[in-house]
Structures are given as structure tokens and as C-alpha cells.
């Protein structure tokens, strides 16, 4: 059973996402949650397969965020593709700023050590 669950997203998380778009008095059957849980895994596999094919054709070994963005568009999920492109852009910006903040902080420390040394 542990093995099978590894191929699925946790049903509790899936249920939480579902509740967000439903009215407060809506009920969800356990089977419906499990069905959507399975569909989500299938979605990941489907899109990953398309992204992986592209990487193979281009002789690249690593599937990255841009490949997934492209695959979403290629498979007809245009809205998702656009949203993901924006999300990726912001994420990369965030990571860059975090990285330069770290460098700046460690430079500060180096200066302090040097003056003490």
C-alpha cells in the first residue's frame, strides 16, 4: 500500500485545494476526492512525458521549469502555461534576490572578521 500511495498526491492536500473553489456548504464524496487525486497524478505524468520528449529531442538531460511550461502549452493547457511562466519568473527573481542577500550578509561577516583579525 505504501508503494501505491507514492504515486499519488496526498488526498488531504487534494481535498483542501478542492474546498477552496467550492461553496462552504458543498460536500465531496471520498470517491470523488480519490478520483481527482488519481487524475492529478495522471496530469503530472502526462505533462512530464511531453516535457521529457522535448528534452530528449534537444539532447538535454534535465527537465526544467521552462520545459514544463512549454509542455503545458503544447498539450492545450494555455492558461496554465501563461500562469506558470509568470510564476517561474517571480520565483527566479525571488531566488536571485535571496542569493544576493546571502552574499551581501556573508561579505559583512568577512569584513567584521578581517577587522578583528
Amino acid at each position: 500500500m505504501g508503494d501505491e500511495q507514492d504515486k499519488l498526491l496526498p488526498v488531504a492536500n487534494v481535498g483542501r485545494i478542492m474546498k477552496r473553489v467550492l461553496p462552504p456548504n458543498a460536500k465531496i464524496s471520498k470517491e470523488a476526492k480519490e478520483t481527482i487525486q488519481e487524475c492529478a497524478s495522471e496530469f503530472i505524468s502526462f505533462v512530464t512525458g511531453e516535457a521529457s520528449d522535448k528534452c530528449q529531442k534537444e539532447n538535454r538531460k534535465t527537465v526544467n521549469g521552462d520545459d514544463i511550461c512549454w509542455a503545458l502549452g503544447s498539450l492545450g493547457f494555455d492558461d496554465y502555461s501563461q500562469a506558470i511562466a509568470r510564476y517561474l519568473h517571480k520565483h527566479r527573481e525571488f531566488e536571485r534576490e535571496r542569493a544576493s542577500a546571502k552574499i551581501a550578509a556573508s561579505n559583512q561577516n568577512n569584513i567584521v572578521h578581517e577587522s578583528n583579525g
Partner: protein, 117 residues
């Protein structure tokens, strides 16, 4: 200095939950599902599972909303597996899921022919 809040906003914050951070879906699990999708998938960049966590949210949102539309058309308040199957059958971009749920669509296809766009 940027606050964590800005980043969480982009993720349409499900709140901070210890193990998975500010994401609604566990990245390690997503990565496992990606790897199992095909023998050709060798390496996955760090941002790929993150991109999928967002894409899966969008996917679950859309599938849930469409399924719920079927539920209320049937004047019910509980979302059932059959509603998900109908939503899949009536949405082109979800064709890849038909085999996953098809055992339940046969009874409903006739009833819903009038509602098919």
C-alpha cells in the same frame, strides 16, 4: 528586504505547513511521480516540482469547478465521482483522463447530451 509574505502571495498561500513549506503540495512526492512517469526522465531541475505544485493547483481547481457544475445541474450538493467523469468527458483538454474514469461515464453520457457545448 523582501518579506516572506510576498512569496506566499504568489503561491496563493495555503499557509505555512512545516514539512512542505508554503506550498500546498509536497514537492518530494511530485518529484517521485515525475520520475515514475517514464524511463526517459533522468534528471529533474529543482524548480520543476515547484512549477508542478502550482500547475496541479490550477488543474485541481478547474476539474473541481467543472465537476461541481455537473453536481448542481443535478440539483445535488455532494460532488460525486460520476460528476468528475462527466466533466472529463465534456472537456477536450481532459481527454487524456477518459480511460482513468471511463467505467462510470456510460450511464451519464446520454443524460448529459443536451448539456454538451
Amino acid at each position: 528586504m523582501r518579506q516572506a509574505g510576498m512569496y506566499s502571495g504568489i503561491l496563493s498561500g495555503g499557509g505555512i505547513s512545516g514539512r512542505t513549506g508554503p506550498h500546498l503540495l509536497p514537492l518530494a512526492r511530485i518529484k517521485k511521480i515525475m520520475k515514475k512517469s517514464s524511463v526517459d526522465v533522468k534528471m529533474i531541475s529543482g524548480e520543476a516540482p515547484l512549477v508542478f505544485s502550482k500547475a496541479c493547483e490550477l488543474f485541481i481547481d478547474e476539474l473541481t469547478k467543472r465537476s461541481w457544475n455537473v453536481t448542481i445541474q443535478g440539483k445535488r450538493r455532494t460532488l460525486h465521482k460520476e460528476d468528475v467523469a462527466t466533466a472529463i468527458a465534456t472537456t477536450d483538454v481532459f481527454d487524456f483522463l477518459i480511460d482513468l474514469v471511463h467505467t462510470n461515464t456510460s450511464d451519464h453520457v446520454d443524460l448529459n447530451e443536451d448539456h454538451v457545448l
